[in-house]
Assembly symmetry: C3
Homo-oligomer: 458 residues x 3
């Protein structure tokens, strides 16, 4: 049965048919529901007698482009560190994000901007869609190398829906603030992926252990991802905050937080490293935790010192997580977390949510002045106190953890469907399962596929 021609044909058709179905369904839904908003539509915009300079495009598009670079360059190359999985890392990032942003435009549109039967799109929906794609890619990091592209597309199909619902509950029902998504993006994406990875636990994964590390050049490629994520994170956190001082302050806080998390990461990496040597895994990842940890609070009056302290804490916690907690996560909790998303997005995301609780609870009319309206509108309007805002922020974190865990569990069951093509234990972290791969050196013929066929089809 295994290895039969029909099974091989099914494998061959799984990815193309799924892509075609998802793209076709998305296009039909776009045709029925999606329309230009009044800042994008030729007729509506000019009816308004606006100055062109007032078009939101000019306030948001540069940030959007930075976020876009983070999603496709940043996440994509960060995961290229695996020695034989570079094509899949950057390629599946490309595929997943290109699907997720379309699907998310629909899901978020139905939930957030559905008026008179239509979803209205513009630069804000582009940013929101990219944010959701970012969450999907965080989950991808947890299962990297252990899942096929059809499985990943199904994961995205489910995750985007749950992301949208969770975000709707937090931002619209609970009135939680989370501009840069410590909760909605990082915590959600990380725990969704981790629970999913738990369900897909592979006890025999050591069969692929020799492919799980990096080589010299793959680590340099990964640093491209790291640095692009790092430099553009101020734009990520500020992309959707209030115009004016709000965006300005958010970018500034994120900038300081990242700088401090970098020093914290170098310090801890050398401290816990063998013979005082630095570990590239820490630098590539933990130095970014400063962006995650101020995802909720960077739009608030965190103060520059607060940003430094938060970033430093996140960098150190994340580095210690890579060193000491990742092994335990696998051995005790049976969670195989390929990229260590628990250290980069999980713990710093939770810390960021808690920091948001603290800073929201400290909000006063004196500190924010008339700017209170744009950061905490419900407090400004007298509908809630700073303390109740803080409590709701905390409740938002629990809601997120709940949605992520249940969603990740469901996702894991979905991905275990027996007809879905999944790489065998001995062929994880290997591009040749999914790609036509050239040799590593010139004049070398294409390497014979070192996949034991019997194993693949078992």
């Amino acid at each position: 049965m295994a290895g039969s021609p029909s099974r091989a044909a099914g494998r061959r058709l799984q990815l193309p048919l799924l892509c075609l179905f998802l793209q076709g369904a998305t296009a039909v839904l776009f045709a029925v529901f999606v329309r230009y908003n009044h800042k994008t539509d030729a007729a509506l915009w000019h009816r308004g007698n606006h100055s062109n300079a007032d078009n939101e495009f000019y306030f948001r598009y540069p940030s959007f482009q930075d976020v876009h670079a983070m999603v496709f360059v940043g996440f994509g190359f960060l995961m290229v560190f695996l020695q034989r999985y570079g094509f899949s890392s950057v390629g599946f990032t490309f595929l997943l994000a290109a699907f997720a942003l379309q699907w998310s435009t629909l899901v978020q549109g139905f939930l957030h901007s559905f008026h008179s039967g239509h979803i209205h799109v513009g630069v804000e929906s582009m940013i929101n869609a990219d944010f959701c794609a970012g969450a999907v890619l965080i989950s991808f990091g947890a299962v990297l190398g252990k899942t096929g592209p059809a499985q990943l597309l199904l994961m995205a199909l489910l995750e985007v829906v749950l992301f949208g619902i969770n975000e709707f509950v937090l931002l619209h029902l609970l009135g939680v603030r989370d501009a840069g998504g410590s909760m909605t993006i990082h915590t959600f994406g990380a725990y969704f992926g981790l629970v999913l990875s738990r369900v897909l636990y592979r006890p025999q994964l050591e069969k692929s252990k020799h492919r799980q590390g990096s080589v010299y050049h793959s680590d340099l490629f990964a640093m491209i991802g790291t640095i692009f994520l790092w430099i553009f994170w101020p734009s990520f956190n500020s992309a959707l905050t209030a115009l004016g001082a709000g965006q300005h302050r958010t970018a500034l806080n994120t900038y300081y937080s990242l700088a401090a998390s970098t020093l914290g990461t170098f310090a801890l990496s050398a401290l816990v490293g063998e013979d005082g040597r630095l570990d590239m895994v820490h630098i590539q990842n933990a130095a970014l935790a400063g962006g995650v940890v101020v995802g909720t609070s960077s739009e608030m009056m965190l103060t520059p010192f607060g940003a430094l302290a938060a970033g430093f804490l996140a960098g150190t916690v994340s580095t210690l997580g890579y060193k000491f907690f990742t092994p335990i996560l696998e051995s005790k909790f049976k969670v195989q977390d390929t990229c260590g998303v628990h250290n980069l997005h999980g713990m710093p995301g939770v810390l960021g949510a808690l920091l948001g609780v603290l800073v929201a609870g400290l909000a006063t009319h004196e500190a924010y002045g008339d700017g209170l309206e744009s950061v905490f509108p419900l407090i400004a309007e007298g509908q809630r106190s700073a303390t109740s805002q803080a409590m709701l922020q905390l409740f938002g974190l629990f809601v997120t953890l709940m949605f992520a865990s249940v969603g990740g569990g469901l996702g894991g069951l979905l991905l275990k469907l027996p007809f879905l093509d999944s790489p065998p234990d001995s062929q994880c972290y290997e591009d040749q399962v999914h790609w036509q791969v050239p040799g590593e050196h010139e004049d070398e013929a294409q390497r014979p596929l070192r996949v034991e066929e019997a194993d693949t089809q078992a």
Copy 2:
């Protein structure tokens, strides 16, 4: 005669002398003709009593920077896929674009903005110059590996002039709309390069066949090019469109089109791939066809659904082109298209022009409102109907194909001039012909040049 000292000296001097001559001549023409425009000149700007926020710099410069990254990072690294031609790919991209943007500033300036004896430059001329450089690099893709740098500079010298004339005929004489250059940039650049490559046909090119593929790391470098082109394409198409809703809509349409072309490419690549495996060549290239295909229509009221459909179609057509048409192009039509520009820029460019015909023909006052003036000024002013606009768009495509073919033919004859240094058949796709190349591994001495000298000088 061959291999004589004088010939070697000539070879040594060809590139430097041509660079010095072209730079010198350009500088003299700049001295005589080029002046700051009224948004760039210290005295003129302040005479106008403008608000600084109104300076066009703030509306166009972020888009310019994205276009600039596409031209130099995107095109440059996309062509690094060749295993032994990375220095030349990224290096000659650098040289060609740096020359083309200067020369194009002059040619486009004489044709478009020559007033009272001077060309006036600012951010719009920078974008236009980079667009023209993009067309030259598309043509470069067709002849990549088979031409020396002096030949390429001469190609650029000719192509920039014809690009400028073709663009002038379309945009100014025919009143054709082509914001992102489906015709003026992609169709023109592709067919110019393809006809040129036809004239330079090398029947013995299989002597270099072993160097024509990629290696693992060169494919990852090429993905840097792909991703930067992909993320910034919304800025490319919208860089010169009308301010306000025009730029906003153009970017949004391009974003959707690219997402759909990515799914189409993955679907078709797996469908036609050996054993269902994906092919990096398709992902690197065809996924970008969504940006090309909406180059004309993305500023129009294409609708989000229209953008998805167009992008999906372009991705599939382009992938099928790489799989089935490129081999025929070489065997039947004797066109050796190194990068497959026919699949990425040629066919999608023609499709994009035809889509522009369709969408222009459907333009109504209802759909565009007062925005009609900024997209189709001649229709808005009652000088022509939507149908005649569509007919002229179609005529513009034929004009472009004509200019590109005749130009490419002339270019081929120019590059065949016997005194021009061209790599021999056995040394195509080889950096060592043009560069001092280090070894591939540390501690390795510089590799002996494996160029058979007799062959080179034959």
Copy 3:
């Protein structure tokens, strides 16, 4: 004594303790002194009744992001050319710049924007801090491969202070104009690093000579750095110039200058290259000299021709410097300049300062009109003539050379402190001294450390 356990422990703790101390001290100073400025603070901004569109964020932040990419991607990857020092090049760039930007925020804040006991920060301070980090990285280029990370942090600690003082003397006391930092950034950073490298002269460095070159792929990584520096340099020079025509003109001049320096570099590289072949070192570096050479004058009425001429001159001088002067610098002057910063930043920086003298001396009310106020306020206000402005520009160059030389000398003495961990002569340009390094090929165990322990600890 050497190789004793206590010494090994000290080595292990040096970097972490220094990072922790510097980050802790910086955070305390931030807590006491650093506050949001009125464009960043929630209460202050809204008190002003401004339009959000007037927030400086929208005029400066896109330029900031480009500068940020140059500092972290550009400088970082440009130095990856060394075959076995990629982790250190990009990693220490990351560490140094993350520290320098915090420390510089304090130093520049005390000197430039200290009011009523506080430093007020916003997007301008972010740009200024990144500029200072750029100067530190230039100095890093001179000593690349020969210093440990703790040494480099101490270098930054000193250099940031001297950078701030020199900048204060030039811009505030002397009224010198230097928007893109030909003097304050490039000349200062280069000569600080060169003098420091002189003090650290290693007569036995040929022991590491075999690691001082590049390999094929490391040169391609370095080109990532080059191209990102090249494309964003117009933003670097214009990031802090006057809004409106000032920023516009500065970007345009830099764009032309870089294009011409690229052609000059290719011409000269082929001319002086063995057998007419191009040298990657020249292309990677000298093509950027066009950005350096207009750092002072690009905001002035340089004219497009002036920009081309200056860029061409800089590209040729820089290329000739790499070919002929770098060897002399080592053999005669005992300055080991790893990246050739004398050719890329030193000579072009001095040329740029002199060009600034010339263009400032030619300033007239006719040429600048009411724009004179924003370029040369002291001339516009009648406080000095163009000639005296030119003389002060020249004096500013001498002041910079003086500060850089004395500072570099002090820095060299500081870095020679015997307890500081420095790589031995035989282990320069080697990542394994500082990093846990994986092998170069898959399935290869981590390479045994080829550091002779006795030598390391000697």
